[in-house]
């Protein structure tokens, strides 16, 4: 036990002395919190729209107005020629164009189908698909309101949103952020701190010292476990104060969830360190096997249900996926550990697997 303490103390000193790394460890959570709190969101609103109104009737203006009133679109230009519209689209000044033909109101009044054209800039397919959904909803709605059937009894939709009624993306990105930060502090720092000893040749000294492998590993990882746990909690508290993140569950469940994920992350860091001889390779490997999957395959930003089937299977071995379910469950839904046994079990299984694997690799040397 004293050996573990001695190694941990040495590691803490090294962390404190390396100002830049310490700064990075502090800078990252702050930067991302700021980013996800203020800068990044997929809430697609204010899509710049141009209208080419060849009809100029009260009906055509009402149609254009229903686009603006939806708050999804901002009317930025009224164009008269196709060439004007093309130029605006090429320069990205507009991302949507509504073309109302000359006979729009006449056909509406006669009860015929009045055709309108909506052109979308599809270069960002993700946004465009969403915008297309909005367009169809607006047109279907306007069709009923402006058409001859406007006074009919039809089905109304009463949407209600649980857990996050304003659909603020911050509330769901912040839990993802914690997974991200934990990956950086736990996986990357652990891997680098062990590989550094190898690269600088001080590993030999450690090996000659009367310290068991277990004590060495524990001493190396404990400081990062504590640091990561602390920074995760700080991020949650900061998000509660700054962005109104609710904390609906209890803190004990939260700490357990975070700790289980961190043990797995430290195990991954250990595994990376057994595979690398230089810090350069350790960083690249960590980015590749821990950072990228956490970002891409955890459901953090991109919904897993929309991925092709083979990739969906791969996400099953990404621990961040289960961490996010558990974390969002505790923070936003107020669930307790019992209701989350499935993702928690997966986290435990992952931690045991990586720790076992790196123990085998460490023992072989």
């Amino acid at each position: 036990m004293t050996n573990v303490w001695a190694v941990a103390l040495k590691e803490l000193r090294q962390i404190r002395r390396d100002r830049r790394t310490l700064l990075i460890l502090l800078f990252i959570p702050g930067f991302f919190l700021f980013l996800y709190g203020y800068a990044l969101n997929f809430d697609i609103r204010h899509v710049p729209l141009a209208v080419q109104d060849r009809d100029q009737s009260p009906e055509s203006r009402a149609l254009a107005a229903s686009f603006v009133q939806s708050t999804y679109f901002d009317l930025v230009a009224a164009v008269t020629t196709d060439a004007e519209a093309v130029a605006l689209m090429d320069r990205d000044d507009i991302r949507a164009l509504l073309v109302v033909p000359e006979d729009f109101s006449r056909r509406l009044k006669r009860g015929e189908a009045a055709e309108v054209q909506v052109i979308l800039n599809g270069d960002n397919a993700n946004t465009a698909t969403t915008v297309m959904g909005y367009v169809n909803a607006i047109l279907a709605d306007a069709s009923v309101r402006l058409g001859p059937t406007s006074s009919q009894a039809l089905v109304g939709a009463a949407p209600r949103i649980w857990y996050n009624p304003e659909l603020r993306s911050t509330l769901f990105l912040v839990p993802g952020l914690i997974a991200y930060i934990a990956t950086i502090t736990a996986v990357v720092s652990t891997a680098l701190s062990i590989v550094r000893e190898k690269e600088l040749g001080t590993m030999e000294q450690v090996r000659m010292a009367p310290i068991s492998t277990t004590a060495f590993v524990l001493g190396k990882t404990l400081p990062y476990l504590i640091l990561s746990q602390a920074s995760a909690m700080i991020v949650i508290v900061a998000a509660m104060l700054l962005f109104g993140l609710p904390m609906r569950g209890d803190w004990f469940s939260l700490s357990v969830v975070v700790a289980l994920f961190l043990v797995g992350a430290l195990g991954t860091g250990l595994l990376v360190s057994t595979m690398s001889d230089t810090q350069q390779i350790a960083l690249q490997t960590a980015l590749l096997i821990a950072f990228l999957p956490t970002f891409m395959l955890s459901g953090f930003i991109f919904p897993i249900a929309s991925m092709p089937a083979p990739l969906q299977y791969i996400t099953a071995i990404v621990p961040a996926r289960y961490f996010l379910i558990a974390l969002r469950g505790v923070v936003l839904k107020g669930l307790d550990l019992g209701a989350l046994w499935q993702p928690l079990l997966a986290l435990v299984a992952f931690a045991v697997a990586v720790l076992g694997l790196s123990a085998v690799r460490l023992a072989r040397r």
Partner: protein, 372 residues
């Protein structure tokens, strides 16, 4: 002079070759990122799990639920008999959306009863705000179509407004067409900036920079000899990614290669200059890596419009993004690939990249003289 640079470049290549694992990473990383970004990076919402409660059990209500079943955006995973039954689906995440049809809907529709009697309730799990928002828009679109259907039955007419939505530049709305060209810009940044940031620091850390300083190499010779190998590595990655994008991912390439290559050179000025700059402000490789990755690369990736649209950001941050070279190169790459536009549209981006590159290279060169 040319001979000296060539020697230095050769030495740099030899060093790269001695770390085969790094070489493998340089080749594997692009492939992995392409696959992930090409296939996984879609924020579109498909197969949203839905639980339905049909309290009405009439032909009308079944018609409505059938629309959800038929839509590619939704997947009806369960049917419950009472509204209270949906709670546990939303809690555990087994369903993201619950559609609850009230009893007596068909009758209310026929008799024209007050609006609150013919309301279909849609409950959404808002924890994934983005997906829920999109799914809700799809759901209200479905109900709108359903209403249009009813109106048509009654009036015997087609829906009043016939919307024809056309999508330019990417008619099939493939997210890979958007992401894969972006990977090109990202990879060049990650590989060239990261590797070049370590090139000079490594010499300093190992103490061999002194030896280089006593050789008759000029400052620019040293910089060129150090940077050109990485420019070459970057170019190999460009060719690899463009070939894969066109032949494997079948991303349309509508512009001309020349514009793209000129843009690539301007962009390499920036990324290599950035790497060199990081090199001059770091004293160990670890510092250089961490500084390059976390102070420059990660913020740039997030704020460049690579994934998160710039137009969604607050005004202040949008100004900040004008400082990011990746942003301009992304516009060039996507413009050339998808829109087929050339210098006449993209000249502001070319100008911005070149200015950025010259400034950062100059800054780095100035600093490296003071340190060396």
């Amino acid at each position: 002079m040319r001979g000296r640079i060539a020697t230095l470049m050769w030495k740099e290549f030899l060093e790269l070759r001695q770390t085969p694992r790094l070489l493998a990473l340089i080749l594997v990383a692009p492939l992995l990122q392409l696959t992930l970004l090409g296939y996984a990076a879609t924020t579109d919402v498909k197969h949203v799990p839905v639980v339905v409660v049909d309290g009405d059990r009439t032909a009308r209500s079944r018609q409505l639920i059938e629309r959800f079943r038929a839509s590619p955006h939704f997947e009806v995973v369960a049917e419950e008999s009472a509204p209270g039954g949906v709670d546990r689906y939303l809690e555990t995440g087994r369903a993201w959306l619950a559609v609850i049809v009230p009893p007596g809907l068909e009758a209310a529709l026929e008799r024209g009863e007050p609006a609150n009697r013919r309301e279909v309730q849609i409950l959404a799990d808002g924890t994934d705000a983005n997906s829920s928002g999109v799914a809700l828009a799809y759901a209200s679109g479905l109900i709108g179509e359903f209403n249009a259907g009813i109106a048509a039955e009654r009036g015997g007419r087609a829906p009043a407004i016939d919307g024809r939505v056309r999508v330019w530049f990417n008619p099939q709305l493939e997210s890979k067409d958007f992401m894969v060209p972006g990977v090109l810009a990202l990879l060049l940044l990650v590989i060239t900036a990261n590797l070049s940031s370590m090139a000079i620091v490594r010499e300093r850390e190992l103490g061999t920079l002194e030896q280089l300083n006593v050789t008759p190499l000029g400052r620019w010779e040293l910089i060129l000899g150090k940077l050109l190998p990485y420019a070459l590595v970057g170019f190999i990655d460009v060719v690899l990614v463009v070939a894969l994008a066109v032949y494997w991912f079948e991303v349309p390439f509508r512009g001309d290669l020349f514009t793209l290559l000129v843009g690539g050179i301007a962009y390499l000025l920036c990324t290599l200059g950035l790497g060199l700059f990081v090199s001059t402000v770091s004293s160990t490789q670890q510092q250089a890596m961490m500084t390059a990755t976390f102070f420059f690369l990660v913020p740039m990736v997030y704020l460049s419009g690579f994934i998160f649209p710039i137009e969604n950001m607050p005004r202040m941050i949008q100004w900040l993004t004008t400082l990011i070279p990746l942003r301009y190169f992304l516009v060039i790459v996507r413009g050339v690939f998808l829109k087929g536009v050339g210098f006449e549209v993209l000249w502001p981006q070319f100008a911005a990249l070149t200015t950025w590159g010259v400034v950062v290279l100059g800054l780095a060169a100035m600093r490296s003289r003071k340190r060396a």
